[in-house]
Amino acid sequence: MNSTLVLKNLSKRYGDFEALKPANVVIPHGSFTSILGPSGSGKTTLLMMLAGIELPTNGEIWFGEKNLSHVELEKRNVGIVFQNYALFPNLTVRDNILYGLVKKQLSKNELDQRLGEMLELTHLSGLENRFPHELSGGQQQRVAIARALAPKPDYLLLDEPLSALDAWTRYEIGQELREIQQKSAVTTIMVTHDRTEALSLSDFILVVNHGHIEQAGTPSEVYDNPKTEFVATFVGGMNIVQNAGINQGAMTGIRYGDVFVKHATEGALSEPYTFVGQLQHIEFMGDTVRAFFLLNDFKTQVIADIPRLQPVASDLKVKNLYAVQMQSSTWRQWSH
């Protein structure tokens, strides 16, 4: 069954407050979709409506042929992984995972088989008799995912699954999440405020701000062709430049990583869209050096992320002059 998840004019109000403005989105079947936005943007409201914990004020949610808009949580067949996992602390891993299968009147063999599948999928084999407090954070999360997937939900919701973890485990567990999702092929929707997470893990991203879905698209669409200034700046470091020498003075976005910096030789400065910039300040970012320039119009500020291995990276001195190049292929524009 190839069923997409469709939001039709979906909106939510709390009294006078419009938590989600009417939204129309098609979420591809089997995809890993992220709802990305700052806190208070309405992303959690959207997730709660997909879960059936909150009911929409207006509009509809369709899964394939099924109208889910007013289907209660118990009947919706959706898996949820909460931020703090909400594992039942008094039940073993096994009983947690099989919790949702009790009603289905399966034989012991069928239960064991499903348990085995889930343990294998989530790399938890051998831990089935432990209690949640005897597991690491990553293991607890995988139990929560196994529990949500065991009853074969139509789609899976993840509420900021990585936000409680430190930077290193976050990367690892993010990769695991992605792997589990790919293997199970369940349509998965994750709420996050971390753009790196959203860009690296998802097939599809909804960028939400002030209760409005500003853009829906693949990570590269959202990154390379942002439709609004908010999307442009929120998904990655973006200079907003207004300079007569660029794009005929129209407001233009240029990613930090797309700015080329060279030594201010005559040859470098003669190339198109290249300006003299004075280095104001540098920040060491690890793989790159972030350099802040003031161009020779004494107005335009440009930030460049320079890979460490570029010759110029090891020779940056504040107050010195450099050639700053912003090629036309990197210019981004959006409607206002």
């Binding site: 949580l73 898996g79 909400a86 919790y99």
Partner: protein
Amino acid sequence: MKKVIPNALLAGLILLLSIGLVPSLGKLGIVLFNDLSVIDESYTGYNIRACINTLTIGIAVSVVSTILGFIVAFAITATHALGRNYLKALFLAPLFAPSIMPAIGLIYLVGSNGLILNLELYGALGVFLGGLIFALPHATLQILVNLKTLDTRLLDAARALGADSTRRFLTIIIPHCHRGLLNAFLITFVLTITDFGVPKLLGGSFPVLATEIYAQAIGSQNFTIAAFLSVWLLVPALIAFYFTTKLKNTDQHQSGSVFQIRPNIFRDRIFTGLAWFIVGCEILTIAIVIYGSFVTFWPYQTALTLDNYTFKNSTYGISPWIHSLELAFGVALIGTVLSFLGAYLTQRMTNVCPFLKKVYQALTTLPLCIPGTVLGLGFALSLSSFAIFKGPIGSILFLVFNTLIHLYTVAHLTASNTLSQINPQYEVVGQSLGINRLTTVNRVVLPLSKSGLCEIFCYLFASAITTISAVVFLYTPHSIVAAVAAIDMIDSGFISAGAAMSSLIFVSALAVRLFALKVCK
């Protein structure tokens, strides 16, 4: 349909609480306003003295028990005092005793034939000392709980800034504790002014309101004056209650890290001595009663005997103890179930009517601020004539109902507190897996609430079996409870039999507690 059942259940609980509270308080008001001329009559020197005595003793006991309670709590949580774990268990002992027990203990130890001293105990001194021992564990408990929540990082920060231990004590520990101290003060104040057992046995010619109300209502059958005096008792209790709720609202949750205690020989020795002296006095006063219950004729014939436990000088024999057990188990069982149900409905159900929720919450806080004496008098005036409260079973039921209402607030608060510590998403998780709410409650929420439920059960049991102030207005020969029977026996001169009856209460309450601890581990 889904909305109907929870709302109906909550409405049922509201109805039950209202039946207990509205007619009894209403009737007190009616009695009062029907005959306003009595009000002038009640301004006698004697009554005014009773009022002043009550307030004086209340303040004296609560000040001293707060200070002593702080010393014990501090020794347990913040020092390396010797035998801290024993202190922690022993200071609680008087919680399982009816208030007459410390009173009997004082008579044995420091009365006119006392073992240690011979004091003129009857009067202010006796009421003060008895009240102090009765109130002390309550004060200690409040402060102990409060001290445990101190964020030790504050102490580390102060040490890093060069503050010595005195300065840390004055600038961090005391400010942190001020809520606990104030709470301890208010709770012991209400406890002392509303207590009936101690002044009944040790008051002598020192009148206080609780005994005066009883004398007016039961002795002189003058219910109007009794009603009026109970307003005098109600007002300070209400004021104290008002301040306690203000404290609760501003209480903040801090990280519950455990005290990192550095040894300090001087401090540790002082607190070992002080805390053991205080707790020792508590224990001695209770223990001597148990010992006394086995003595043939205190203090002249010290041979040990079981005779006192036959209660042959009382018309009721052993039956008051049976009634007490019926009362305590009834209140504990019904109260645990109802308070948990109510807390669950108001806290974890999103589809109950907000108005009902508010009414229920208001009704649950009301009983705490009504002294048992007042509630008992109200029940006696308004509900005792109902047919279902007549006869052998009915009269026990009457006491169960009254005690249940009287103790409902703390049961409700404990239940709410237990539930609020359980992840609110468990039922949602269950529902998302297609499992209905009741199954998740049964498989997850209830097992996780086990220790909270035990806590409520034990509190209700111990309080119901030791309570006196309300039931003295309500008992019949079919339902006379152990604590009241003990007072009767002591009044008739059989102090050892009274001690035996009190010991039975103490042992029953303690046994239930220990059993519950075993079950809930």
